[in-house]
Amino acid sequence: MNTGVLIILLFVVIAVAVSQLGVILYFVNFIKKNQIPDGTIKDAQEKSASVIAEAVAKSNELVVKAQEEQIEKVSEESKKLDELAKQFEQTVNDLEAKTNSELTGTAKEATESLETVAQTSQESLQDVVQTSQKTLETMASESQETLKTLVATDRKVLEEKTDTMINQSSQVFQQFMTQLSTQVREQLAGELDTAKKEIDIYKKERINTINEKIIDILEETLVATLGKKLSLKDEGEFVFQALETAKKEHVFG
C-alpha cells in the first residue's frame, strides 16, 4: 500500500474520533443544563443512556462502515494509483526507449549529416579555394597587364615630362648664362671704368705731384739764385709790391 493513502486513512480515523468525542461532550453538557427531578432524571438518564448507547452503536457501525468504505476506496484508489504508477513507469520506460532509439537515430543522422556537411563543406571549400585561386590568378594576370599598361603609360608620361623639364632647364640655363654673362660684362665694364677713373685720378695726382715737385725745384732754384743776385733796391721794390698786394687783399682791414 502507498504511504499517502495510509496518511489519509489516519486523518479520517482521527476525525471520526474527534467527532464522537464532541457528541459525547455535547450531551453531557446538555444533561447538566437540563437536570430534571430524580425520577424523571433517572428515567431520562436511562432512556438517554440507551439512546446514546444506540447512537454510539449506530455511529460505531457507521464509522466502521465508513472506515470499511474508506478503506475500500483507499484500496481501490491505491490500486488505481499502483496501476497509474505502473502505467507511468511503463510510459516512462517506453518513452526512454523511444527517446533512446530516437536519440540514437538522430545522432546517427546527425553524424551522417555532419559527415555529409563536412564532406560538402570540404568540397565547397575546395571549390571556393580553386575558384579563389583562379580568380586571384585572373586578377594577378589582369593586374600585371594593367601594371604593364600603367608602366608603359607612366614611362611615356615620364619621358615626355623629362623632355619638357630638360627643355625648360635648358632654357633656364641659357637665360641664366645670358644673364650671368651680361652681369659679368657689366661688372667688368664697371670695374674697368672704376680702374680707368682710379688711373686717371692717380695720373692727375701723379702729375700734380710732379708739377709740385717742379715748382718746388723751380722755387728752390729761384730762391737760391735770385736771392743772391737781387739788389737792395730790387728787394725794396719787391717789398713795396708785396705791401700793395696786401692792401689789395685787404690785409689791413
Binding site: L222, L226, F238, A242, K247, V251
Partner: protein
C-alpha cells in the same frame, strides 16, 4: 690826452719803427735829465741829445721833435708828458714787417710813411730780418700773418708755369719720337 696829442704827432712825424721810438724816447729822457734836472749845465738840450745819440738819425729825429714842440717849463708837467709819450709808444701795437735784407734809413722811412698813409697816421712798424722771404715780405697785423714773396708769386703763377713745363715736356717728347 689832449695836451699829449701834439707831442705824439710831432714824435711820430720823424719816427716810424717801434725800436726807433723806444730808443729815441730814452734819448730824450736822458737829455732832459742832464739839462733840465741838472744844475749848472750850459749846453742846450739839443746839444746834449746830439752828443748822447749813437745814431745820427736818432739825434736828428729828436732835434726835429724838439723844434716842433714847446716843452713845458714845469718839471712835473714835463715828467708827465714824457711818461705819457712812453706809455703811448709802448702800448701801441706795431705792424711786424719781415724782410730778407737790412733796410737803409731811407727805406725804413719810406716803409713807415707807406704804412702811415695806407694803414693809420700813427702806426708803428717793427722790422725783422727773415732770409726765407725772398722777393717780398711777410706782414703780421692784428693776429693775422701773410707772406707775399717769390714762393707766393710762383704759386699764383702755378698754372702758367705748369703749362709752360708741359709744353716743354711735350716738345721734348716729340723730338725724341721723331
Amino acid at each position: 690826452m689832449d695836451q699829449l696829442t701834439p707831442f705824439l704827432t710831432a714824435f711820430f712825424k720823424t719816427t716810424f719803427t717801434q725800436a726807433d721810438a723806444r730808443r729815441r724816447i730814452g734819448l730824450l729822457e736822458q737829455g732832459i735829465e742832464q739839462t733840465v734836472y741838472t744844475q749848472g749845465v750850459t749846453k742846450t738840450l739839443e746839444q746834449v741829445v746830439t752828443e748822447l745819440a749813437k745814431q745820427k738819425e736818432d739825434a736828428q729825429a729828436v732835434v726835429q721833435f724838439l723844434s716842433a714842440v714847446k716843452l713845458p717849463s714845469d718839471t712835473t708837467l714835463l715828467k708827465k708828458m714824457l711818461a705819457g709819450l712812453r706809455d703811448a709808444v709802448v702800448s701801441k701795437t706795431a705792424v711786424i714787417l719781415a724782410i730778407p735784407f737790412e733796410p737803409t734809413a731811407e727805406q725804413i722811412v719810406a716803409y713807415g710813411e707807406w704804412f702811415r698813409v695806407n694803414v693809420s697816421p700813427d702806426v708803428l712798424i717793427s722790422i725783422v730780418f727773415d732770409a726765407s722771404v725772398v722777393g717780398g715780405c711777410s706782414i703780421t697785423w692784428q693776429g693775422k700773418q701773410v707772406t707775399y714773396d717769390l714762393e707766393y708769386l710762383i704759386k699764383q703763377k702755378r698754372n702758367e708755369i705748369v703749362a709752360v713745363v708741359d709744353q716743354f715736356v711735350e716738345k721734348k717728347r716729340r723730338e725724341k719720337v721723331i
